[in-house]
């Protein structure tokens, strides 16, 4: 079995200084996306633990797995969680969720927490789609656009390139800058054909970094087109898997001439985080606290 370069590092994290037992409201969000799944648990609105894993072909399974991994070595168990919101592609297939909310609402809410209430425009570059979202100071969606016709500008595209170039996906961004000068972007927007175009370039003798640069800038340009249709209002933040790819993010910033806010947490958990925050709000409602 050859190395799977597209496999991005799965991860989990537990807050060292929060004792869930002392918590009043334990809320969680599970984001089952087409490529990755995350679970986030919050204690009284503070981030307690999360996990980030690849989605399998069975989403209830993936949801459970993400949650189990998140709760690993916390001694917290599912039954102690007061409320769970399911989101993402498989949101209706989260067996233990109390309610399903779309990833658009959740990402906006999550970004509002991660980047602060000044965020007005969120770019979520997920596994297979790409969303541009406007929200208010509470993180409530006011407008959004989604590219659901073409997968260009999505994580899936980057995975394809990691495989093609045999470069671990987490290195793609850095390497894409190791070129003397920025090459022409690849012309094809379709992931499949961008790939065969890239093969053509490699056969022409282009080195991997140059091909990568050409693809990254094509991807960035594609995304900027989407953003400009909805217009970027400051502050601007990027969430989702590709947010970790500086090769794309820096090129987007350059084209927009706007700097994106620095993430405080793993950008892939924004959706699940938003879910957990909504869960808290819903528990407070139940308890008549709002």
């Amino acid at each position: 079995m050859e190395k799977e370069y597209w496999r991005w590092p799965e991860s989990k994290w537990v807050s060292p200084d929060i004792d869930w037992r002392a918590g009043d409201i334990i809320s969680s969000g599970v984001d089952v996306g087409s490529v990755s799944s995350q679970a986030v648990v919050m204690v009284d609105g503070n981030l307690f633990c999360y996990s980030n894993f690849r989605t399998g072909s069975d989403s209830p399974e993936s949801a459970r797995k993400a949650m189990d991994k998140a709760l690993e070595d916390t001694e917290l168990s599912l039954d102690k969680i007061h409320y769970t919101v399911g989101t993402g592609y498989g949101r209706v297939n989260v067996p233990f969720a109390n309610r399903a909310i779309t990833e658009i609402a959740c990402h906006a809410r999550g970004a509002n927490y991660m980047y602060g209430p000044s965020v007005r425009t969120i770019l979520d570059m997920g596994g297979q789609d790409c969303k541009a979202i406007h929200c208010d100071n509470r993180g409530k969606v006011t407008n959004f656009l989604m590219n659901d016709k073409c997968a260009a500008g999505t994580g899936r595209g980057m995975e394809v390139f990691a495989d093609l170039l045999s470069i671990p996906i987490e290195d793609l961004g850095r390497l894409s800058f190791e070129v003397e000068e920025e090459p022409e972007p690849v012309s094809s927007t379709c992931v499949i054909f961008a790939k065969s175009e890239a093969v053509g370039l490699l056969r022409k003798g282009w080195h991997k970094e140059k091909v990568l640069a050409a693809y990254s800038s094509a991807m960035a340009h594609r995304v900027v087109e989407l953003l400009e249709r909805i217009k970027v209002e400051k502050e601007f933040a990027v969430t989702g898997g590709i947010a970790k790819n500086e090769g794309v993010v820096k090129r987007i910033e350059a084209e927009l001439k706007i700097k994106a806010l620095e993430p405080k947490q793993d950008t892939q958990i924004a959706g699940a985080l938003g879910g957990a925050l909504f869960s808290k709000a819903l528990v407070e409602k139940e308890r008549g606290l709002r």
């Binding site: 592609y89 779309t102 990833e103 658009i104 609402a105 969606v141 989604m146």
Partner: protein, 374 residues
């Protein structure tokens, strides 16, 4: 309660075939709602609108280039697959180029003993359109007479007008009910109703609709708490799509579609010359975007619908490659937004990838609702 209409929608071919054997009359399939059905009813001919099936198809590639709208290809596919073999004739009234190809290819490859191209004027805002169309309707009437071997008298024409006007009046009443805070019918049911009316004998339709209008006011149905939406754009008889949206806690209360309000909105105002009266109706009706120039009259019409039916949001659907609508939609969206109506825009193919759209519509509804989350 609305089962009959759903049945008509689903069993359109069976209905038409039964109608033929029952009445021994002729059936004409038509491609565009600019076809003056009054004249066909006057001649005792049943007009049925040819629509697609929303199934993926692979038979039109040799006949219509893939850059033309999926709807016109889907319609042709129905003919090529033999679904409409019972038709005695086909006709089209001039509107967009896309559906025109369905007519010309149909004529080339599917034998019928009557086919007619009515050059309905596009410049309906010109004072020259009325006399011109009146003249063309005269020619059309003669062609029908020649085909059926029966003269069409003014009484016949007035009867045809009466049948059409009645169905228009009744359908308008149905739409009026949708203004209520708790509309007694869903958007899906409304769609079944209007599309069915394009497929069955208007006399059967009028009868059924009259009964419905009696019962509807007492109907127990929970629409009050749902988000009131309007839907507009390219040809759309996609019940699966409408059903999906309404399953998310929304209810469509009004539309601007040629499979909806645009079809029946205007009535014929009688005068001494029935053909001129009919012509006037088609020149003055709420236009298809392909005829809405130099001024854009639809923009205000749509705004008014949104206000009168008190909608909270609008779903704008664009059939891929549908140039006429693509050329109006940006102006319409801008106007709706200026008037405080949030819009969700979707580019449809005849076979909708429901999964992809569901998320967007859910998010749109959350945007209009979901205050409880904050």
């Amino acid at each position: 309660m609305m089962e009959k209409l759903k049945e008509w929608y689903e069993k359109r071919h069976e209905y038409a075939q039964e109608w033929k054997s029952k009445t021994g009359g002729k059936v004409v399939g038509y491609f565009c709602t600019y076809v003056p059905e009054e004249i066909l009813y006057a001649a005792g001919v049943l007009p049925v609108r040819i629509l697609g099936s929303h199934e993926p198809q692979d038979v039109t590639e040799p006949h219509i280039f893939g850059m033309f709208c999926p709807f016109c290809r889907d319609c042709l596919a129905q003919g090529l697959k033999g679904k409409y073999d019972y038709l005695d004739g086909i006709m089209i009234a001039q509107s967009c180029l896309h559906i025109r190809q369905t007519f010309t290819s149909w004529k080339l490859h599917i034998p019928v003993n009557f086919s007619y191209y009515l050059p309905m004027p596009n410049n309906v805002q010109s004072k020259r359109a009325l006399p011109y169309l009146t003249g063309e309707l005269e020619v059309f009437k003669e062609a029908v007479e020649k085909w059926t071997g029966k003269a069409i008298t003014d009484e016949d024409l007035n009867r045809g007008i009466e049948i059409m006007n009645k169905s228009r009046k009744l359908t308008r009443e149905l739409y009026e009910l949708r203004k209520q805070e708790n509309p007694p019918l869903t958007g899906l049911e409304a769609m079944y109703t209007v599309v069915a009316s394009q497929m069955v004998d208007k006399r059967d339709y009028n009868e059924t609709l009259q009964e419905m209008l009696q019962k509807l006011p007492q109907r127990q149905i929970e629409n009050g708490s749902k988000v009131r939406l309007m839907i507009l754009g390219s040809e759309n008889d996609d019940t699966e799509f409408v059903e999906m949206v309404e399953s998310l806690g929304a209810v469509f209360v009004v539309d601007d579609h040629c499979t909806g309000s645009r079809y029946f909105w205007n009535e014929v105002t009688l005068n001494q010359n029935p053909l001129e009266a009919i012509a006037a109706r088609y020149v003055d009706r709420v236009p298809c975007p392909s005829k809405d120039w130099p001024e854009r009259t639809r923009v205000n019409h749509i705004k008014k619908l949104a206000q009168d039916w008190n909608v909270q949001g609008a779903v704008v659907v664009q059939q891929k490659f549908c140039d006429p609508h693509e050329l109006d939609i940006p102006a319409i969206i801008e106007n709706l937004k200026q008037n405080g109506v949030p819009v969700q825009f979707l580019e449809l193919d005849v076979t909708v990838p429901i999964g992809q759209f569901k998320t967007r519509l859910e998010a749109f509804l959350e945007m209009l609702r979901e205050e409880d989350l904050f």
